[in-house]
């Protein structure tokens, strides 16, 4: 029904929401090792403040599933005595949690000023071309996801590409990124070099 005489009831037209309903995913239980790790993390906070461990728990879900599933978030809610809504509320706020299925390697190019001044736009474009996907997409093989990221705090090594939330590739150029993709395809995880240290005095 419509509340306006001249307007038809059309929820598709009037109720735009960019919010995606979390993917159910597979039934979820932490592996014993991850559960033990979470229990260890919980000891760092006062017993009645289990909620503080919610980010750590969500990282563990992501590690196990690749992204945050509704089942995973419900499992976390059960352990931390929260409602599923409270967990989802937190999970959807932080950018390092993937809310939908992503590739095995998530390439995140820093796009904020210092990186952009050193050519991050070209890096993003070359990666996009090389992988044949746009920013925000996963390639058909499910291997790579390309994303842009806000300032990583490594502006002296700009531009920076972060792989899987932990490995940094600094001083990125279209050529070095092309090589990185080839290396990952050939060697897998071994191609990720982590963070190189370079400190100027």
């Amino acid at each position: 029904m419509s509340f306006h005489p001249l307007m038809e009831y059309d929820p598709g037209r009037f109720h735009h929401s960019e919010r995606k309903i979390a993917d159910e995913g597979a039934p979820f239980v932490f592996t014993p090792e991850r559960r033990a790790k979470l229990d260890e993390i919980l000891t760092e906070y006062p017993p009645e403040r289990k909620r503080s461990a919610v980010l750590a728990a969500l990282y563990l879900v992501q590690e196990q599933e690749g992204y945050l599933t509704a089942n995973g978030m419900r499992h976390v809610a059960g352990i931390l005595d929260l409602t599923p809504a409270e967990v989802e509320d937190v999970a959807t706020y932080y950018v390092m949690f993937f809310k939908e299925k992503v590739g095995k390697y998530v390439l995140q190019v820093c796009r904020t000023l210092s990186c952009a001044l050193n050519g991050a736009e070209r890096v993003t474009e070359s990666l996009s071309e090389k992988l044949g996907i746009k920013v925000g997409e996963t390639d058909p093989s499910g291997m790579f996801t390309l994303l842009e990221f806000e300032c990583l705090g490594a502006c002296d090594r700009a531009p920076v590409v972060m792989v899987n939330n932990e490995h940094w590739h600094e001083h990125a150029t279209p050529e070095s990124c092309s090589k990185l993709i080839d290396d990952i395809k050939a060697k897998g995880e071994a191609a990720l070099s982590g963070c190189h240290l370079k400190v100027e005095k």
Binding site: E44, Y45, P46, R49, R51, S52, A53, V54, L55, A56, L58, Y59, L80, D89, V90, Y93, Y94, V95, M96, F97, R111, T112, L113, S114, A116, L117, N118, G119, E121, R122, T124, E125, S128, K134, V135, G136, E137, L147, E148, E150, C151, L152, G153, A154, C155, D156, R157, A158, M162, N165, E166, H167, W168, G194, C195, L197, K198, V199, E200, K201
Partner: protein, 432 residues
């Protein structure tokens, strides 16, 4: 000046406990534990140490404000959520000098009577976190952290807490919210964290670099500390220089050093064949300075006098290939993306500004849009709970103020007229 905080960052083993102990490591802690907590606070107050996170608030005062007579536990929250664009100093400190961070945390805990220090580190610094965790385990083993530290009966734990990617978590009350396992959104102040912080207990939130300054003050005394730097801006300061310079990096200097020296002497100047166009002196949230405004000491007070802020001392240098409309748009994208969504002016206004700037940058804007920027930005600044609103308005306001002709060129020409050798062929689409 000889570097104090970053003296050993280039040593291969500079981050290890053994190396740290050979170079006066934990000596400041020993001295502090022999003093009364109140005397430590007085000493930090007398040193004039100002918070290095951005606001420059005196650290001694912050510690003094922490409630004394309360049955509640007290906490130190070390703010290692270094997210201000252009800032990377804490990254170096934590990765190459982790024990100095721990020592600062422990002295802070002793001073305010806390039993736990939480280090809230941003999620992207996972490789740094691994260094911190490994070194923390060694410090626990050797009895520098944990129960009965150095046989004095003082118990203090240090816990490393990983964030998950939120610029807003760098604001002290938002950091506390995030730490408690909620969205990183700021709280209404007062009550300040010193009265009601983590778990509604008295908390002192200090930046990593601030805490790293404390051991030196305790060990070498107030006179040594105040001999470094100009009045009211004492002590060593880390500057992060990035952008179009030859040698971007972290440089340690006193706050007597001028911005021009930092850019041209320390960082090697603007890249060859180009000339300076504009400088952001303290992270993307502060107003820009023009090349003729750089002959001022890079201190909190002098930069403020010039109409900007020292902020987190992140100096971003731009040469003449930089289109200022694009800069405003790039930064506005950041603020629109990172706005926590709590206050309407920042949440909605940020999006509007981004849309207006995109329109202008694409050459589809009108002259009216240029004034609209000032109007919208003016309605964000100062009208939000946390300083994020001011920060979000600053890039748009100062670019229009200083480079209005470029905005007008975009409207007149219908395109960007600034040639650049580093821009993408098409504007990378932000699709998050």
């Amino acid at each position: 000046m000889d570097p104090v905080l970053t003296r050993y960052v280039r040593e291969p083993n500079g981050h290890t406990l053994d190396f740290f102990l050979q170079h006066q490591g934990y000596e400041g802690l020993k001295k502090a534990l022999a003093m009364k907590p109140g005397d430590v606070i007085e000493m930090v107050k007398a040193s004039g140490l100002r918070g290095r996170g951005g606001a420059g608030f005196p650290t001694g005062l912050k510690w003094q404000f922490v409630l004394k007579d309360t049955p509640l536990p007290k906490y130190i929250a070390c703010n290692a959520d270094e997210s201000e664009p252009g800032t990377f100093k804490d990254h170096v400190l934590m990765e190459r000098n982790p024990h100095l961070v721990f020592e600062g945390c422990l002295i802070g805990c002793w001073a305010i009577g806390a039993k736990v220090a939480y280090i809230y580190i941003r999620g992207e610094f996972y490789h740094v976190q691994k260094v911190l965790e490994a070194e923390l385990a060694k410090a626990y083993d050797k009895g520098y952290v944990g129960k009965n530290i150095l046989g004095t009966g003082f118990d203090c734990d240090i816990v490393i807490h990983r964030g998950a990617g939120a610029y807003e978590a760098g604001e002290e009350t938002a950091l506390i919210e995030s730490f408690e396992g909620k969205r990183a959104q700021p709280r209404i102040k007062p009550p300040f964290p010193a009265v009601s912080g983590i778990y509604n207990c008295p908390t002192a939130v200090n930046n990593v670099e601030t805490l790293c300054n404390v051991p030196g003050i305790v060990l070498n005394g107030v006179e040594w500390y105040t001999s470094l730097g100009p009045d009211k801006n004492f002590g060593p300061k880390l500057y992060c220089v990035s952008g179009h310079v030859k040698k971007p990096g972290v440089y340690e200097a006193t706050m007597k050093t001028t911005l021009r020296e930092l850019i041209f002497d320390y960082a090697g100047g603007v890249r060859d064949g180009h000339r300076l166009k504009a400088v952001i002196p303290g992270g993307s949230s502060v107003p820009m300075l023009l090349p003729d405004q750089l002959d001022i000491p890079a201190s909190f007070d002098d930069v403020a006098k010039a109409g900007s802020m020292l902020g987190s001392a992140a100096i971003i240098v731009m040469d003449e290939t930089t289109c200022m409309v694009w800069v405003a748009k790039n930064l506005m994208y950041f603020y629109r993306h990172e706005s926590c969504g709590k206050c309407t002016p920042c949440r909605e206004g940020g999006d509007w500004l981004y849309k207006i700037l995109t329109r202008l940058e694409n050459g589809e804007g009108s002259m009216r849009d240029i004034d609209l920027i000032a109007s919208v930005a003016g309605n964000i600044a100062g009208k939000t709970l946390c300083p994020f609103g001011d920060a979000a308005a600053a890039p748009a306001l100062t670019t229009v103020k200083n480079f209005r002709s470029e905005f007008e060129d975009h409207v007149r020409e219908g395109r960007c007229t600034v040639p650049s050798d580093w821009r993408g062929w098409r504007v990378a689409a932000g699709a998050h």
